[in-house]
């Protein structure tokens, strides 16, 4: 029969191990284990920002400004999977802005790690919404956006979902792509889709972040600096004139 202290110790250990478990809510999910079942398309709003270098492919030209420019992001279940069975477990979609490999070089804080809980590739949340298995009807406002309205595709194929997202002001200057994760009811990632290929080497767009500098701040700091130096000079002058009479 276990003594009281042993029971206390055991329950303490159990409690601590539960804490350890719940601390990474997604469990150990590896990115390489997720199926790529979602198609994604990202495009800018301004026509001059779209470029078509070859038939069937298009990409971004020019940079997008953080805080000003918008992205149109669309996704749907890949047509080669059957809607209703493949996506039966999908409950939530989280769309995130992710760093492209060129912006991860020599920057350990943006490293891609297979364990999703430790992965730092996608640091900006764009949108979280419940996964709808039903067709939505909506109006498109930008005619050059590559989104097909509800009903134009046949059968029970899943329809495009889309959002318009203004790039947030705190997004730094870097190259990005967009990825969507599908989560099940328990909050565990079960699938993903991204706007680029597995090597992340096309459809990468650049964002130009804000500098954070302001004219007023520049002027204030220059004034303080000048004051600092001039007060030293002033002090020496005062000391010299004071010393003269003696």
């Amino acid at each position: 029969m276990a003594s009281r202290s042993e029971i206390v110790l055991a329950s303490l250990l159990l409690f601590l191990s539960c804490l350890a478990e719940t601390s990474d809510a997604n469990g150990v999910v590896l990115f390489s284990s997720l199926p790529n079942t979602l198609e994604m398309i990202v495009s800018p709003h301004k026509p001059e920002q779209v470029m078509k270098p070859a038939e069937g492919s298009w990409t971004f030209g020019g940079t997008l400004k953080a805080g000003e420019d918008k992205l149109s992001i669309s996704w749907r279940l890949n047509q080669s999977f059957s809607a209703g069975t493949t996506d039966s477990g999908y409950k939530t979609i989280k769309v995130k802005l992710c760093y492209a490999p060129v912006s991860q070089v020599d920057r350990g804080w943006r490293k891609t790690v297979d364990n999703l809980a430790k992965d730092k590739t996608c640091q900006f949340k764009i949108e979280t919404r419940p996964y709808k298995h039903v067709c939505d009807s909506f109006y498109t406002q930008c005619t050059h956006r590559l989104v097909l309205p509800c009903g134009l595709e046949g059968g029970s194929a899943s329809k495009w979902k889309y959002i318009d997202w203004t790039i947030k002001r705190d997004v730094p200057s870097a190259s990005y792509f967009v990825r969507a994760y599908a989560y099940d009811g328990a909050g565990v990632a079960v699938a993903y889709g991204q706007s680029t290929g597995p090597k992340k080497n096309y459809n990468i767009f650049e964002v130009q972040g804000i500098t954070g500098r302001h004219k007023t701040l520049d002027v204030v700091s220059i004034c303080f600096s000048a004051f600092s130096v001039l007060s030293l000079v002033g002090f020496f002058v005062v000391e010299k004139t004071r010393a003269k009479p003696t």
């Binding site: 500098t211 954070g212 701040l217 700091s221 220059i222 303080f224 000048a226």
Partner: protein, 502 residues
């Protein structure tokens, strides 16, 4: 020898040089304790500004698009500016006095902190960190000032407290800057890429204000400022080339420069790498790793002063030999703990070993400046500067050898650094003062092995005729306490002359 009726002038008891023989930490009495408080606070503000970038790096690195290499280079730049600046500051202190030297440095490096608001690229970031880091040379006038105000029996304590409370700024900034940043973000509503730029203005203002305080309330020596003393003939105006030559000629200065590189230099290196080490090895949150890193710097508030106090305590019994032995033992022990730190695999043990390592390493810094004031009297500033410069150089070299790039993992780097500490502390056994001895041997038995002889050798007979050496004579008398208790009873060559109280 007794001096009379000048005592009402000073709040503390003083020696024949009017240096305080006691250290009352809560007093701001003119001129001694006031100088202490001005000195440590100005040095503290330099640490605040030099390491202000470190806790805000997660924001700055995205704003300026920095890579790990850029950050590493800027970190090295921030401590390399002080290498030569410290030697220059030493010479300037000898020639113009610590008050002017210190205030000039503070006011001339403050613009670099203000101008962080305009940083726009990795290069500008590196240049600004380099310029701000030059302010760490303020260490030298601080030590010089304390050595000018406090007598040999308490000089280690004064230097230890001033250095430790200043160094403490390196840890305090890790807590203060994120707080200031957060306040600006929420109260002013600035975007985070603007908020950090505004945040930098705050420590810069502190630095300017501390410079003003030094100019308005401080004085170089117990009897007044250099300028006035030189004009009235109480203090001879010395020549740069002579002062410099006597400093670099003294081999003890070079050995101390090397050993200081492996206590203070190691401390600066650890300040730069320890947060990342804990974050990566034990998968802590960045915030937690930052707090542990701050603890290392914060320990300075007690550990460095402890070193200084210990140095003075050992000197009372064992004289200079006690100071040297204690320094060697603690610094080598620091090396041992550093080796263990790199090998230990659990978080709790790592933190424990890190605390022990910080205590040994930082008290070794305090102990070093218990020895420095005695190496030279004429070129006190140059020796202080060389030692201090050696400290900064140690930081640069250690980061370059063990922590740049991916050649060594951080834990291997830390272990190897510990081995290097132990090796580079050995040369301390070579330090020998003819009048007091060294670690491995007692004082010379020849008749000329006295304090007077040692400090007079820095002056030519021409200079002695003009009476330039008077301060050195007084210092020699007062430093007789460095013989220790037992020694003064067995030495037969001179009369017993304890420290003089006014």
């Amino acid at each position: 020898m007794e001096f009379q009726s000048e005592s009402p002038k000073f709040a503390l008891t003083v020696d024949s040089d009017h240096k305080a023989t006691e250290f009352k930490i809560f007093s701001i009495a003119k001129p001694h304790m006031r100088a202490f408080h001005l000195a440590w606070f100005s040095y503290f503000s330099c640490f605040l500004t030099t390491f202000a970038a470190a806790p805000l790096l997660p924001v700055i690195r995205d704003n300026l698009n920095l890579t790990t290499t850029d950050i590493g280079n800027a970190g090295i730049a921030s401590v390399s500016g002080a290498v030569f600046a410290r030697i220059a500051m030493g010479t300037l202190s000898d020639l113009f006095g610590p008050r002017l030297a210190s205030a000039s440095l503070l006011l001339l490096t403050a613009p670099a902190v203000f101008l962080f608001s305009m940083a726009s690229s990795p290069i500008s970031f590196l240049l600004l960190r380099f310029c701000v880091g030059i302010s760490l040379a303020n260490f030298v006038p601080t030590m010089f000032w304390m050595s000018s105000m406090f007598s040999p029996p308490v000089v280690g304590t004064a230097n230890g407290f001033a250095g430790g409370w200043g160094n403490f700024g390196g840890g305090a900034t890790q807590l203060i800057m994120p707080l200031v940043f957060g306040l600006i973000q929420h109260n002013v509503g600035a975007a985070k890429f603007t908020a950090w730029r505004i945040a930098f203005q705050i420590p810069a203002v502190f630095q300017v204000l501390s410079a003003f305080a030094i100019l308005l309330f401080g004085q170089d020596m117990p009897d007044g400022n250099f300028h006035r003393l030189e004009k009235s003939g109480d203090k001879p105006k010395d020549k740069f080339s002579t002062v410099f030559w006597h400093g670099v000629k003294n081999y003890r200065g070079w050995i101390l420069a090397l050993t200081y590189g492996y206590c203070f230099g190691v401390e600066l290196t650890v300040d730069n790498i320890i947060a990342e080490y804990f974050y990566d090895r034990f998968n802590l949150k960045l915030h937690t790793a930052g707090i542990i890193a701050a603890t290392f710097g914060l320990a300075n508030i007690v550990s460095r002063p402890t070193g200084g106090v210990l140095s003075d305590l050992m000197a009372r019994r064992f004289g200079m030999r006690g100071r040297l032995w204690t320094l060697w033992v603690l610094q080598t022990l620091g090396g041992v703990f550093c080796v263990i730190l790199g090998r230990v695999g659990s978080l709790k043990a790592s933190i424990g070993v890190m605390v022990l390592f910080s205590l040994c390493c930082q008290s070794a810094c305090g102990l070093t400046y218990g020895v420095v004031p005695f190496v030279s009297r004429r070129s006190l500033g140059v020796i202080s500067g060389m030692t201090g410069g050696g400290g900064s150089l140690g930081a640069v070299l250690t980061q370059l050898i063990f922590f740049k790039g991916t050649k060594y993992s951080k834990e291997t780097g830390i272990t190897l650094m510990g081995v290097m500490i132990m090796c580079c502390t050995l040369p301390m056994t070579l330090i020998h003062f003819p009048q007091w001895g060294g670690m491995l041997s007692g004082p010379s038995s020849i008749n000329t092995a006295t304090e007077e002889e040692y400090y007079m050798s820095e002056w030519t007979s021409v200079e002695k005729e003009k009476g330039f050496h008077c301060a050195s004579v007084k210092f020699a008398e007062n430093s007789r306490s460095e013989r220790g208790k037992s020694d003064s009873l067995t030495r037969t060559s001179d009369e017993v002359s304890p420290t003089v109280h006014v």
